[in-house]
């Protein structure tokens, strides 16, 4: 095997290979996800792409703040007015035809941007239905998505599914870079060789089996693997795909998508580490397990080698998660940076001057009205072939303004520690579920933060998806110490983030107030509560609407103190059931919204 060990220079070679694959035939492979912060390594990698590119191709950059009209295309209003004829402005998706779309900070793109890119990738066309323009542009491009996400964000799964190769440059430093082992001439000759390389059913079966045993269910990944394998064979000047080509393709496409380890390997690890945890077992996907056992016998020694290489190529952070049997926290849907105030919804409240941009609506009547007084002067002053036409200048343009309700998000901060869990974690779960369904009707978003042991975790970033909310709630384990301060802090951070997006947060803190872990993670009851009070002041300073629900069996002064410090509403909840709790929360959030 060529890359059985994770030596970094070998890894670099693999990534150089991925760049070459992308440049041989961009259309077949969809694109690539590059996980990396801005770094020299990434720049070197991008330079390689630039070198390998055919001269006819070009790279079009998509800034994260791109507006729909620039992305998809639309009417160029100013040019239209100046010329008197509709002038169509081509969107970036159409401009990228035959080249590459580069998405820096791809995780920050809006879901709409991502959906438009995905649909163009799928159908090879851009459908423009905007501002009086109805048009279909053919476009074929491939995507280079630079993923700079950290823990709280991630790239939209809809996009990553459509991009074949995923590479992770985090693991490399500048020392690992060595001269590219593939040269531009290899890429050029691979293009001519590619059509001659055929794929066998036998190899397809291997791909399916290995994908399934690593828990990769997407069919797209399997389809891409065969294309990538063919291109790799062409690059290596093979006329047939051999095992090493196939193995490399699997390492680039399947391994980064792994959601589980093959069952035999998992068992070994559990024996070694002696920490099989029962409560996590139920998290495992039942279907995939069943499927797994049935084809285990089918894997031949040859495939074993490929499978081993595939496992070796699983990125280390992902591997650690898989080994500890921890479910990879279900990722957000790329909502970051979206949801500005709607520009085209709500009650109309008059107009303002300006050229409409980014989905703003032109009020035609007001625009015409504004231009009327100037018609005589303009007709005299200006030569025009169209003498009957209305002369409109860009200063006449009027934009429709709308008033609309702000969106809101309810952040549940759940104390899942031992002391709380004993009493009423189940009740809290029930109440949160009820409130969730209420939020669903109101189209509010919900988020879930849980704290136990030594830290707080955002189990569910703000979402409207009930499927995900339900799933993350059901898998919320209880027990352990109470890091109250950490819980409050992460809720405050989340709330601030949401406020910066123009969404109004409400925090619902469900705790018994018995903190015993300090912010720094030490066990000290008194200090821990001090810390919690300090963090509470943060919330007050930010002026975030908060509700403290005391979940201890009898109303406890700790929780009251907390509430006071936060300027929050305090609700003691002795022996209440889920329904009562839900009523209180609903009542108070509703009241708060009205007051605002």
């Amino acid at each position: 095997m060529k890359y059985p060990n994770n030596q970094n220079s070998d890894l670099w070679d693999l990534y150089v290979l991925s760049a070459a694959v992308l440049c041989v035939n961009p259309r077949l492979v969809g694109g690539i996800v590059v996980k990396s912060f801005a770094s020299d390594v990434r720049q070197t990698w991008l330079d390689i792409i630039n070198e390998f590119l055919p001269s006819s191709s070009h790279i079009v950059k998509v800034p994260t703040n791109i507006s729909d009209e620039r992305l998809i295309g639309g009417l160029d209003l100013v040019a239209t007015i100046n010329s008197g004829n509709p002038v169509v402005q081509e969107g970036i998706l159409s401009q990228a035809n035959g080249g590459y779309l580069l998405l820096p900070m791809a995780e920050r793109n809006t879901p709409l941007t991502i959906a438009s890119i995905c649909s163009a990738l799928d159908s090879n066309q851009v459908v423009v239905e905007r501002e009086g323009i109805s048009k279909i542009n053919q476009t074929e491009f491939s995507v280079i998505a630079l993923d700079e996400s950290d823990l709280n964000e991630s790239l939209s799964p809809a996009l990553t599914d459509r991009l074949s190769m995923h590479i992770n440059l985090h693991e490399l430093s500048t020392h690992d870079i060595c001269p590219a082992y593939i040269e531009k001439s290899d890429v050029v000759s691979a293009r001519t060789l590619l059509p001659k390389i055929k794929f066998e059913d036998n190899d397809r079966e291997k791909i399916s089996a290995i994908a399934l045993s690593l828990g990769v269910h997407s069919i797209r990944a399997c389809i891409y693997t065969q294309h990538v394998a063919r291109i790799i064979a062409a690059l290596h000047d093979h006329t047939e795909i051999d095992t090493s080509d196939l193995s490399l393709a699997i390492q680039l496409v399947i391994s980064p998508r792994a959601t589980m380890l093959p069952s035999n390997m998992q068992e070994e690890d559990e024996d070694e580490q002696e920490q099989p945890s029962d409560e996590n077992e139920e998290n495992m996907d039942d279907d995939s397990n069943d499927g797994d056992q049935s084809h285990e016998q089918n894997i031949s020694p040859d495939d074993e080698i490929i499978l081993e290489a595939a496992q070796a190529a699983i990125p280390s952070d992902l591997l650690n998660n898989l080994k500890s049997n921890k479910k990879i926290s279900s990722i957000n849907s790329g909502k970051s940076g979206t949801l500005q105030k709607s520009k085209h919804r709500g009650r109309a409240i008059g107009t303002r001057n300006g050229v409409p941009r980014g989905g703003e609506k032109l009020n035609i009547l007001a625009t015409l009205r504004a231009s009327v007084p100037w018609q005589n002067i303009r007709k005299q002053a200006q030569y025009s072939a169209l003498n009957n036409s209305v002369k409109i200048h860009s200063e006449d343009l009027r934009i429709q303004r709308f008033k609309h309700k702000t969106e809101s998000v309810t952040i549940f901060v759940v104390d899942a520690s031992g002391s709380s869990a004993l009493h009423r974690l189940a009740e809290v779960k029930g109440a949160v579920e009820l409130v969730l369904s209420e939020c669903y009707v109101r189209r509010d978003q919900v988020a879930l933060v849980a704290f136990r042991g030594t830290q707080a975790e955002i189990l569910l970033p703000p979402t409207r998806s009930l499927v995900r909310a339900k799933r993350s709630l059901a898998s919320l384990p209880g027990g352990g110490a109470t890091p109250l301060a950490a819980g409050i802090t992460s809720a405050a951070v989340l709330a601030t983030q949401e406020m910066s997006r123009g969404i109004e947060p409400t925090i619902v803190l469900l705790t018994d107030g018995r903190a015993n872990i300090t912010l720094s993670g030490e066990q000290n009851r008194e200090l821990a509560f001090e810390d919690a009070l300090k963090c509470s002041r943060q919330i007050r300073a930010q002026n975030i609407k908060t509700l403290v629900v005391d979940t201890s069996p009898r109303p406890h002064e700790n929780a009251q103190k907390l509430a006071k410090e936060m300027h929050a509403q305090y609700v003691p909840l002795p022996y209440a059931d889920a329904l009562a709790l839900s009523n209180v929360i609903q009542h108070s959030t509703h009241k708060n919204t009205q007051a605002a």
Partner: protein, 340 residues
């Protein structure tokens, strides 16, 4: 434009394929929602269906695809003002499948003032939107759960009334817009609004197949298609043709398909057991079972047709416990087992 992947070459996903065919046979079934995993061929199937639809008569040069045989009341202003049927010229045209892209603006969806004419001539002329184009055909929305709320608002009313009323920019226009709504999406990316969910007659859940044989076959067919699209489509032309004829025949047969009282009763019992809201559940169940029977070439709707369509017709209509989404299929299954 490259030819779409053939409908019959899609491996598995029988429920989705049947639901799409049923909605093609009877427009009154009211649309299909396909929800499920990524990469399961949702959009592929829907785009493939477009090429299988039979041709229908339309008034020539009518912007709204009016039916020359219909009563003047349901026609657009221009067609209904033409007094005699004989004077209307008609032509055979393919049933339209209109894409509603996510980035569409409201004016293109509903129709709006023609800006070009307004600016150059100062005249008020209505420029029909996508809803006009989709009249008597299909309106397809990919990633329907990501559609912007203000577009959903305008769709809902039109889908319910079958008529698009435009009152904006000094225009006052109404035209027929009866279309079958087809939506697809991934529930992980966001919920569908209940009001919109209700507009879909059938809903289908698709899953990625998990056995090696099926997966291998899918990969092989996809590769064959991509390496030579024209040849691949040609190879499947006969099978696709058979499906097209099946749909055409079923459409002819549909008016003569009978539903016995006993079957009606069963449908009603099923719905009351499941506690579906209103009567739409029963109606959709019956009309889809009838279309299914027509597809099979049978003149009587029997239990097996009911059984086959029950899941698609009812799973999204159960009294909404929004957190219990995943198990709604099994709830329908349980009720079916009790009844049959």
């Amino acid at each position: 434009m490259s030819p779409p992947f053939p409908f019959t070459a899609i491996v598995g996903q029988d429920e989705m394929k049947l639901a799409l065919m049923v909605s093609a046979v009877d427009h009154l079934v009211g649309g299909v929602l396909v929800f499920g995993d990524r990469g399961t061929g949702k959009s592929t199937a829907i785009r493939a269906l477009a090429s299988l639809l039979p041709k229908v008569k339309m008034v020539k040069d009518c912007q709204f695809n009016c039916d020359p045989e219909e009563l003047p009341l349901t026609l657009c202003e221009m067609c209904s003002s033409t007094s005699k049927k004989e004077s209307v010229k008609s032509s055979l045209q393919t049933i339209p499948v209109v894409d509603l892209p996510l980035g569409a603006t409201e004016d293109r969806v509903l129709g709006a003032l023609d800006i070009e004419i307004a600016l150059t001539k100062g005249e008020k002329v209505f420029e029909p939107g996508l809803l006009a184009k989709a009249n008597r055909g299909f309106l397809y929305i990919d990633e329907v759960n990501l559609l912007e709320d203000h577009i959903v608002d305008s769709l809902l009313d039109v889908a319910a009334s079958g008529e698009n009323v435009v009152e904006r920019e000094g225009l006052s226009v109404r035209h027929p817009a009866r279309f079958v709504l087809i939506g697809s999406g991934n529930p992980e990316e966001g919920e569908l609004r209940p009001q919109l969910l209700d507009r879909f007659g059938l809903s289908v859940e698709v899953k990625t197949p998990n056995d090696i044989k099926t997966r291998t076959q899918i990969i092989r067919l996809r590769d064959e298609y991509e390496s030579d699209k024209e040849a691949f489509v040609k190879k499947w032309k006969r099978k696709d043709g058979a499906v097209r004829r099946k749909i055409t025949k079923a459409k002819e047969l549909l008016p003569s398909v009978k539903v016995k009282d006993s079957v009606l009763e069963k449908a009603a019992t099923l719905c009351s057991q499941l506690g579906t809201d209103g009567l739409r559940g029963e109606l959709t169940l019956i009309s889809s079972a009838r279309a299914h029977a027509a597809l099979e070439g049978e003149k009587n709707v029997s239990d097996k047709h009911l059984l086959k369509m029950a899941r698609s017709a009812l799973r999204h209509r159960l009294r909404r416990d929004p957190l219990d989404e995943s198990s709604s299929t099994s709830r329908v299954d349980r009720a079916l087992q009790e009844l049959f």
